[in-house]
């Protein structure tokens, strides 16, 4: 079972924070197929948030085929995000390390690297969209 935390200052809406936290847990292998997500009532009771927020997050995860709701029982993970891509992490990390080395050599500081990464990331997403 995982526990959600909310960052009020992040500017990200609570429902998206829940979605992101589930996806991250799936990606890192903290949640695997068959695991149960906290019940809506549990999340509401621990975070003092609107139940519709949790329902909306779970519905979105359901739409993405990551979880399934069993009425009266709870919501369960139906797909793992980790195994297929986990193997690819290491070579990608090495590539990224090399790239970071090049960026540093070119004189970029941390902030510039982050800005460059995010703007490229966004530009690519827009091309796809």
């Amino acid at each position: 079972m995982i526990e959600f935390v909310l960052d009020a200052r992040s500017g990200v809406s609570p429902y998206l924070q829940v979605v992101h936290q589930v996806r991250r847990a799936l990606r890192l292998g903290l949640l695997v197929e068959g695991d149960q997500l906290p019940t809506v009532k549990d999340v509401v009771a621990s975070l003092a948030i609107n139940p519709n927020t949790v329902l909306k997050a779970y519905r979105e995860l359901e739409r993405d085929g990551l979880v399934a709701a069993r009425p009266g029982v709870g919501t369960f993970v139906t797909k793992t995000l980790a195994d297929s891509s986990l193997a690819a992490h290491e070579p990608l990390r090495r590539d990224l390390g090399r790239w970071l080395g090049k960026a540093r050599a070119a004189g970029l500081d941390d902030e510039s690297i982050e800005a460059l990464f995010m703007s490229t990331f966004r530009a690519m997403n827009e091309e796809i969209a």
């Binding site: 909310l6 009020a8 500017g11 809406s13 609570p14 809506v40 009532k41 509401v44 009771a45 621990s46 975070l47 003092a48 948030i49 609107n50 139940p51 519709n52 927020t53």
Partner: protein, 301 residues
């Protein structure tokens, strides 16, 4: 989905002053609706009208499908926790429960006792001896045990410390999850409402500035910043909520259903707090368009 509260041109006048004007609202069933605005904006007046403690000077209001407080059946549908979560200081917790059971036809005694038990309140304690947080919880317990379709709360957490505030909202949200009660609560602090509300009404100077589902409000409001530009230079489908100009830069908060395509703007999404603040600090309507244009010109000179 049907409306739990529907108002049509509602106004309330005290002597010569309008406490609420031209209020037209539609709050869908099952929502947790936050009512925000500065002190004196008319929040308590709107809540008083909703529960039937006040009657409108003009306009009509419908709550849970009927006129507020028109019959005992109608009274049973609406729970009200007034400002500062009042209880009877001389009565014990048990007395409060007994009174609630006698006064309310839909009273759920088992649920009330379960809640009191979980909160760890001693049934023999007088309400006057309880802490502020415990008194608030007692008032909330009474409001929920009444088993209403709509629970109205006036500034329920304003006087509570952060921990008591969190505990109060936890109990309230659990009740929403379990029983599906609709909630209307006021606050002058947006941060209290951000987690719990999925519908929002912003009230300023006795008028409703904006109302709607939080997700929709967040999707349709944007902050634009870029080179100095007059308000008239914006597309007609973008209505300006707030604007600020320096000698070379303009910042706008606009509401629009269409995407912002102009590449000159850098567009950032608004959080709920920023959105509310934009309405609270907006230039006064209805002449805001000409007024802010005038300011824009001054800056240009």
């Amino acid at each position: 989905m049907s409306a739990i509260v529907r108002t049509e041109g509602v106004g309330k006048k005290y002597r010569r002053r309008w406490a609420l004007q031209d209020c037209t609202l539609d709050i869908p069933e099952g929502r947790v609706c936050g009512l925000v605005g500065p002190n004196g904006a008319g929040k308590s007046t709107l809540l008083g009208l909703t529960v039937g403690l006040l009657s409108p000077t003009v306009g009509s209001i419908e709550v849970c499908g009927g006129q507020p407080a028109v019959s005992s059946a109608q009274l049973a549908k609406v729970g009200f926790v007034a400002q500062d979560t009042p209880t009877y200081a001389g009565l014990t917790v048990a007395d409060h429960l007994r009174m609630g059971a006698h006064l309310n036809p839909r009273w759920d005694d088992a649920a009330a006792r379960r809640r009191i038990d979980r909160l760890g309140l001693d049934l023999r304690r007088r309400a006057g001896q309880l802490s502020g947080g415990q008194r608030a919880q007692l008032a909330l317990t009474l409001g929920l045990a009444k088993h209403p379709d709509l629970l109205v709360l006036d500034e329920p957490v304003a006087s509570l410390d952060p921990l008591a505030r969190r505990e109060f909202l936890q109990v309230l949200m659990e009740a929403v999850a379990e029983e599906g009660v609709s909630v209307l609560l006021s606050s002058h602090l947006v941060s209290d409402l951000e987690r719990v509300c999925d519908h929002l009404i912003v009230l300023v100077d006795s008028q409703v500035k904006v109302s709607g589902d939080v997700d929709e409000l967040l999707d349709t409001h944007h902050r634009l910043s870029g080179p100095l530009r007059e308000e008239q230079g914006l597309p007609s489908d973008q209505s300006v909520v707030w604007s600020s100009h320096t000698d070379r830069q303009s910042t706008y908060v606009v509401r629009t259903d269409s995407p912002i395509l102009d590449p000159a703007w850098s567009v950032t999404p608004l959080g709920l707090e920023d959105l509310v603040l934009a309405y609270l600090t907006a230039t006064p309507t209805p002449s805001s368009a000409s007024a802010s244009a005038g300011r824009g010109l001054e800056v240009l000179r």
